[in-house]
């Protein structure tokens, strides 16, 4: 198959090329390759997006999402590869569940799904999960997801043991005693709504702890969904002195501030909470100077039943796969904060490197995973159009630029806009 007339991002530059693919591998990238093919004229081709932080809910919570609906949402959002977090039921804390997810994803056959194993059995923070066996079955990282391993010694052990299997710990940073039931960021808007807030330190303290462990043990660590300006600074300083720390943030932290909670819209309830303008600006700054390596969705689909309740009772999370690229492109590239090439690094190349995944680059010999987008298309986010089961988004009605037109996985078109 030859994908023709693409404006493709090759080695950091947009080039007008044809891309030929055989057996799922890019064979040739050249200005003109002879033969019939799939026309991508007018579209920009980027390496397939890789989301290293999603929740696919299967097994256990199929009412919210399953591997099929989640995969469908992924390719519609331009993702060729997603890494799914272990807070399923049962948790991904054993090789059987890892294998099941891999097998189910292959059956669905849309995007690549890479399971992330739990750090402890049942995510209970007591005993280490069978990290070696999960790796053998295909886990690409370990994470306690949704909470921190509270026992610091156990976290140190997890980092050390996982490193024997070349797995990185992805750390959700939250000091439970400081959060103390808080559901939003503590500040003017938590006081205004009377919703219980939690302060930045609740996140920063554990970011700092994981950095200390990584530094002391000389091991890598990855910080999940950074939301505070002070967290960005902790990571920046750690990187400057050579600590092997990487970090991610999400489109909602880059585009919203805590003012959105003022009408008690439960679609704004997310953990960590949406914070203030100075946090938002610091996160963008962190992306620009390389402190923040990746943009992930933390795709957390929920059923309406879990959101149409009191704010305190509503589930945390935003359904993000189908809006991530456009939100990020609009907020970062369209506004001149990042180049398109830099955005592709944050959404594809860097996640692949951090987790040691194939993909993330358009080059000969690489898997033919790519996405074709119309960068000039302006559209309005409408949750009714989501193919994810989770329609929970605080972005309904928002106008964005950049529309995914076609997603190719292992050389095959897995999504194209009709």
């Amino acid at each position: 198959m030859i994908y023709k007339n693409a404006e493709a991002l090759i080695g950091g530059e947009l080039k007008k090329v044809d891309i030929s693919v055989e057996n799922g591998i890019i064979q040739q990238i050249a200005p003109e390759i002879k033969g019939e093919g799939y026309d991508l004229k007018g579209l920009t081709v980027l390496p397939g997006l890789i989301d290293m932080h999603v929740h696919l809910r299967e097994p256990g919570f199929e009412k919210k999402e399953d591997i099929e609906s989640g995969s469908r949402a992924a390719v519609k959002g331009g993702f060729t590869q997603v890494c799914c977090m272990p807070n399923t039921k049962p948790a991904i804390d054993n090789k059987v569940t890892v294998s099941y997810i891999k097998a189910r994803a292959r059956e669905v056959g849309l995007c690549k799904v890479q399971p992330i194993g739990a750090i402890t059995v049942g995510q209970e923070g007591k005993d280490l999960a069978p990290i070696g066996a999960m790796k053998a079955a295909g886990a690409v990282a370990i994470s306690e997801d949704g909470k921190s391993v509270l026992e610091t010694k156990l976290m140190a052990n997890a980092m050390q043991y996982a490193s024997d299997f070349n797995l990185r710990c992805l750390c959700h940073c939250e000091d439970k005693s400081l959060v103390d039931g808080g559901v939003v960021h503590e500040g003017y808007y938590s006081t205004l709504t009377g919703l219980k807030g939690s302060i930045r330190a609740a996140e920063d303290i554990i970011i700092a702890r994981e950095i200390c462990l990584a530094e002391s043990l000389n091991l890598p660590v990855h910080i999940c969904h950074v939301s505070t300006y002070s967290g960005v600074q902790l990571i920046r300083e750690a990187k400057a002195r050579g600590v092997q720390v990487t970090a991610e943030t999400c489109p909602h932290y880059l585009t919203l501030t805590d003012e959105v909670i003022k009408d008690f819209d439960t679609n704004t309830k997310v953990n960590p909470p949406i914070r203030e303008e100075k946090d938002r600006l610091a996160l963008i700054e962190g992306l620009k100077d390389g402190t923040i390596d990746c943009i992930v969705t933390d795709h957390a689909p929920h059923h309406e039943d879990d959101k149409r309740v009191e704010y305190n009772l509503a589930a945390f999370g935003i359904s993000g796969l189908e809006t991530s690229f456009a939100l990020s492109y609009t907020a970062l590239v369209k506004s001149g904060e990042l180049t398109l090439a830099e955005l592709a690094e944050k959404m594809s190349t860097n996640p692949a490197e951090i987790l040691g995944l194939q993909g993330g680059k358009l080059e000969v010999g690489a898997p033919a995973d790519f996405v074709a987008v119309d960068l000039n298309a302006q559209w309005k986010i409408d949750p009714k159009e989501f193919v994810s089961k989770g329609k929970n988004t605080p972005f309904a009605g928002r106008k964005v630029y950049g529309r995914v037109k076609c997603t190719v996985v292992d050389g095959e078109v897995k999504y194209e806009e009709k």
Binding site: D180, E186, G187, Y188, Y189, S190, T191, L192, T193, G194, L195, K196, G197, F264, D305, R308, V309, E310, Y311, N312, L313
Partner: protein, 305 residues
């Protein structure tokens, strides 16, 4: 007043608050004259839906509705039923289907009355939601002040106590500032929420500063059940460093009113001498409560058949 619900004073105009107080003052006169058979709500049904324990507020609302001629049903649900069993939306739909005209709800979570109001056709009155608002408490406080001071404009009100967890403090702040009063607040730093200054409060760092020149001194209940987390060492220490006593009252204006939404912890927020003294309006607040709730119910349903 043209509104379906009373969810808080944040989204009320000064004119609406003024109207409620004016009608409330009239209701209070009628109550004092022993008139308890009004017809404003004749043929209407009112349900009180309380997810939190309350004696005085529920009783006050019930009597207010009954004095206006309404049928009243009381539902008391344990707080625990919020997290299990029927959702609030479904409960609301059920109450609506039974042709309730007004639902008065207390709920432990901020924003819950709003969710209910969006669901039901009935009028919703917020009787306290989590740490958000308690509009009728603030209205009864303001009614009590207006009886004593004619106008609230330029009045200096000091509020001391557990501000962080207090929906009363916030509703008072919104209402009082809208009518031109100034509000000073003081509490241990552990019990002061963020951003109050941005909401128009004068945030103080001592009792003396808060009370300086005050016309009204309001104590807020220290909720013993909320003090597990070490917000302060003991009630004794609270009383000593943060409570209002006769000595610190010297910083307030002579004859400044003493108020408290109740129930009072005697000797903690206020000394017994102040509670029982000539300047105390704590009992007066209770009657204001019935009157102002009558005013709210009457105004919300006015003109409906």
């Amino acid at each position: 007043m043209k509104r379906k619900d009373l969810l808080g004073l944040l989204d009320c105009t000064a004119e609406e608050i003024d109207e409620i107080l004016t009608v409330g003052l009239n209701m209070k006169k009628l109550l004092r004259a022993g008139k308890k058979t009004l017809t404003d709500l004749q043929g209407k049904s009112v349900t009180t839906l309380f997810y939190e324990n309350s004696t005085r507020t529920r009783c006050s609302f019930e009597l207010a509705a009954k004095y206006l001629g309404a049928h009243v049903v009381n539902i008391t649900a344990a707080s625990s039923s919020v997290t299990k069993g029927e959702t609030l939306v479904d409960t609301g739909k059920t109450l609506d289907a039974m042709k309730n005209d007004v639902i008065i709800m207390r709920h432990p979570m901020g924003g819950a009355p709003r969710l209910l109001a969006e669901t039901v056709k009935a009028h919703v009155v917020n009787a306290g939601d989590g740490m958000n608002e308690h509009p009728t408490q603030a209205l009864l406080d303001m009614l009590t002040m207006r009886e004593n001071f004619k106008s609230l404009k330029g009045l200096k009100v000091a509020i001391l106590g557990d501000i962080r967890h207090s929906r009363v403090a916030k509703s008072n702040l919104y209402g009082l500032t809208k009518l031109g009063a100034s509000v000073s607040m003081y509490a241990p730093r552990t019990l002061m929420p963020a951003g109050l200054d941005k909401m128009g409060a004068r945030v103080c760092r001592s009792r003396e500063e808060a009370l300086d020149g005050a016309d009204v001194v309001m104590g807020l209940r220290i909720q013993l059940e909320r003090q597990q987390g070490g917000n302060f060492p003991s009630l004794g220490e609270y009383a000593k460093y943060y409570g209002v006593n006769e000595a610190v009252m010297n910083y307030a204006k002579k004859g400044a009113l003493i108020m408290h939404p109740g129930p009072v912890n005697r000797g903690v927020e206020l000394t017994s001498g102040l509670i029982d003294g000539a300047d105390s309006r704590i009992e007066e607040q209770v009657l204001s409560g019935v009157a102002v709730r009558m005013a709210v119910l009457s105004l919300l349903t006015k003109g409906e058949k």
